[in-house]
């Protein structure tokens, strides 16, 4: 009973929310590319660029706003390279994603070593992190109030974004265009939409969110830059999108589940349980969900074939 108390309590939930936030942010970005029918493997690299430039600008200017802006701009720039080659010059989109990830890991490490002359990680008191905000009304509530304490402002922005992305995709013409290009590009083109331009725009939006996610990693979760600090979160975000069925709310739920799993695994580690198995959960779960979704689709296809034959 004691261990169970230790595992499921508010501090684990709060940690889960914090771990979920970068996954959610990147996932919201990847949603747009997913809706435009582009498999965005490159989020990992975009996040790394965002994380690095956020730390660098924060180090030199001490302004959190400038750092966030820099992260967004570099995230979009990295996405632009990905989009330029992946969409315009017709590289295989998967290959372009792998290349941008490789570029992200190696080039940020290169910059870290040539600009700051450090190996491994950079932490410095000059790096300013995101401010911590307690929501004034909700944090006073009994029981659940603790959930809203001590989070950085980015956490709230991330969850606010869920609503905005939902509205954008479902209620605006641009969102509709993105979805229509993903659904049937030729049909969209026949009504005067330029599919490649829409795809490129979706990629740039994903760069915006990945930049933010990177900034969160380096300025809210740690206040430092570590080589390859994204460490697979881009893929977990991709998994969260699949898991959530490609919707913003679904992605949020998936990100929270994955965050919670990791928070629990950190706890389990402290009581001696091999953490590796818990860390596997998001990956295994996603693979199983992917198989299940495809299995259902296959069944439907076969049923349809059957009815036509009759």
């Amino acid at each position: 009973m004691d261990t169970l108390d230790n595992l499921v309590n508010f501090s684990v939930l709060v940690a889960g929310i914090r771990i979920a936030t970068p996954i959610l942010l990147a996932g919201l970005g990847g949603l747009h590319t997913m809706q435009a029918n582009i498999l965005n493997i490159g989020m990992e690299g975009m996040m790394l660029f965002g994380a690095f430039s956020a730390v660098m600008v924060s180090y030199y200017t001490g302004s959190i706003l400038a750092a966030t802006m820099a992260a967004i701009v570099t995230g979009i720039l990295a996405a632009a390279i990905f989009g330029l080659f992946g969409v315009k010059y017709r590289c295989d989109i998967i290959v372009a994603g792998i290349a941008i990830n490789l570029f992200g890991v190696s080039f940020t490490t290169y910059l870290l070593r040539t600009i700051f002359h450090v190996k491994g990680s950079l932490s410095d008191p000059r790096i300013i992190g995101f401010p911590v905000v307690d929501l004034p009304l909700v944090s006073g509530l009994p029981y659940i109030g603790d959930l809203f304490k001590g989070h950085s402002v980015m956490v709230y922005i991330a969850f606010l974004m869920v609503v905005l992305v939902h509205l954008f995709l479902c209620r605006t013409p641009k969102g509709l265009h993105i979805r229509s290009v993903g659904e049937h590009a030729e049909a969209a083109a026949s009504v005067g939409i330029n599919p490649d331009r829409i795809r490129l725009q979706a990629v740039l939006i994903s760069g915006f969110f990945c930049g933010l996610a990177g900034a969160y990693l380096s300025l809210a979760q740690t206040r430092m830059f570590v080589e390859n600090m994204v460490a697979g979160r881009g893929f977990i975000a991709l998994a969260a999108i699949y898991f959530g069925g490609g919707t913003p709310v679904g992605t949020m739920v998936a990100a929270l589940l994955f965050g919670l799993a990791e928070a629990v695994s950190v706890r389990l580690q402290t009581i001696g349980f091999p953490s590796q198995f818990v860390l596997m959960i998001p990956y295994l779960l996603t693979v199983l969900v992917l198989i299940a979704i495809s299995y259902v689709k296959k069944m439907r296809r076969e049923k349809r074939k059957y009815t036509i034959a009759c």
């Binding site: 998967i94 290349a99 490789l102 198989i291």
Partner: protein
């Protein structure tokens, strides 16, 4: 002769142009960081090819890359994007440790046994995404990448708790038996007979794709699965077979590192050989013999980069960044069709003697 020239044109021109382009960009990056590009590149070349021991190190570094490159190419040829060679590599390596440590036999039996075990485990691991891709149409890129993490975490657990060498501080297993070692034929370097295994495998695959019915089926499935289906090729089976072979080679790549270099399983021993294999396979455009060249080139790049890192102020990560740029340029189909479609630009290129012929040929 025309066929040969065309082959050279499409297979060699692009990688070489891409490499030149990347080196050019690299020159700027080095200059921006206030270093001398010529000096840095010079040190890199010296580090990769300068003298017997440097050359041997380049060879030694390229063995796993050639193997993972071949593993990736087999799947690519069938139109299956296997990004999971890394996972097969880890599990294969661990299987190699298990058989290499706990089974005792004379070397002549033990070595093939260890390799077979690694190949089997690698293949079984690749079967999961292969089967789900072929039968349920699950996107194999996503599943293979996600399963990589599972494989790496699983071996990390095995090496941290049940099989840990308790006398060592770091996460590693005890040594494998000496009968399972791969012979090092260029002492004092670490180049082992896995190199011949890689070369033989490349030649075998070249023959396989060019001359056998199976190889033809593989190619057809990759080029156009619908057509392949209508001419009576069992597309699903072909995809699964190619993933099995791909995973098996990945497992062997891992085993070679254990049997030839490390002699034990070490947590996180791979610096991403699986992903380097993807780069090499792309660079060689999935041509098995090309992978030998591209794999050695990549190994030399990494060895040279490490040397450059030690002797100059330019970090080795620059070279890996350039590799990413090379991948972009090599696979940018649209960029080359632009060159081919734009008449004025092509004429300008054709006026350059040697280059012009190649451009013309590729346009055919």
């Amino acid at each position: 002769m025309a066929g040969f020239r065309k082959m050279i044109g499409s297979n060699l021109l692009r990688p070489v142009l891409a490499i030149c382009m990347a080196m050019f960009i690299g020159t700027f990056i080095i200059m921006l960081s206030n270093q001398d590009p010529l000096f840095a590149y010079g040190k890199m070349v010296q580090g990769a090819f300068g003298g017997f021991s440097r050359l041997a190190e380049s060879l030694d570094r390229s063995i796993p890359i050639i193997l993972t490159g071949l593993a990736t190419a087999v799947a690519f040829r069938t139109g299956v994007f296997n990004a999971g060679v890394e996972g097969s590599l880890y599990l294969g390596a661990f299987a190699a440790f298990l058989v290499g440590h706990y089974v005792s036999a004379p070397a002549i039996i033990h070595v093939p046994m260890v390799l077979a075990a690694a190949a089997l485990v690698g293949a079984v691991w690749a079967f999961i995404p292969g089967y789900t891709k072929a039968v349920y149409k699950v996107d194999e890129t996503v599943t293979t990448i996600l399963l990589n993490y599972v494989a790496i975490l699983f071996t990390a657990y095995l090496v941290a708790i049940p099989f840990k060498d308790v006398t060592a501080g770091s996460q590693q297993t005890p040594l494998i038996l000496e009968t399972a070692h791969l012979y090092r034929f260029l002492p004092p370097s670490r180049v082992h007979i896995g190199l011949f295994l890689a070369v033989l495998l490349a030649i075998f695959l070249y023959w396989f794709f060019k001359r056998t019915t199976w190889g033809y089926n593989f190619n057809m499935t990759g080029m156009n699965p619908h057509y392949a289906y209508y001419v009576g090729i069992n597309v699903e089976k072909t995809m699964i077979y190619s993933m099995l072979i791909s995973g098996a080679i990945g497992g062997i790549a891992g085993a070679c590192q254990i049997m030839g270099i490390l002699y034990r399983f070490i947590d996180q021993f791979s610096p991403g050989y699986g992903f380097e294999g993807i780069a090499v396979s792309l660079l060689a455009r999935n041509h098995p013999l090309g992978i030998l060249v591209a794999g050695f080139f990549y190994g030399a790049l990494q060895t040279g980069a490490t040397y450059m890192d030690r002797t100059t102020e330019v970090p080795k990560e620059l070279i890996t960044s350039l590799v990413a740029i090379i991948i972009f340029f090599v696979t940018a189909e649209g960029m080359f069709s632009y060159v081919q479609q734009n008449g004025a630009f092509r004429k300008k290129l054709q006026s350059i003697p040697v280059l012009g012929k190649l451009v013309h040929k590729e346009g055919e």
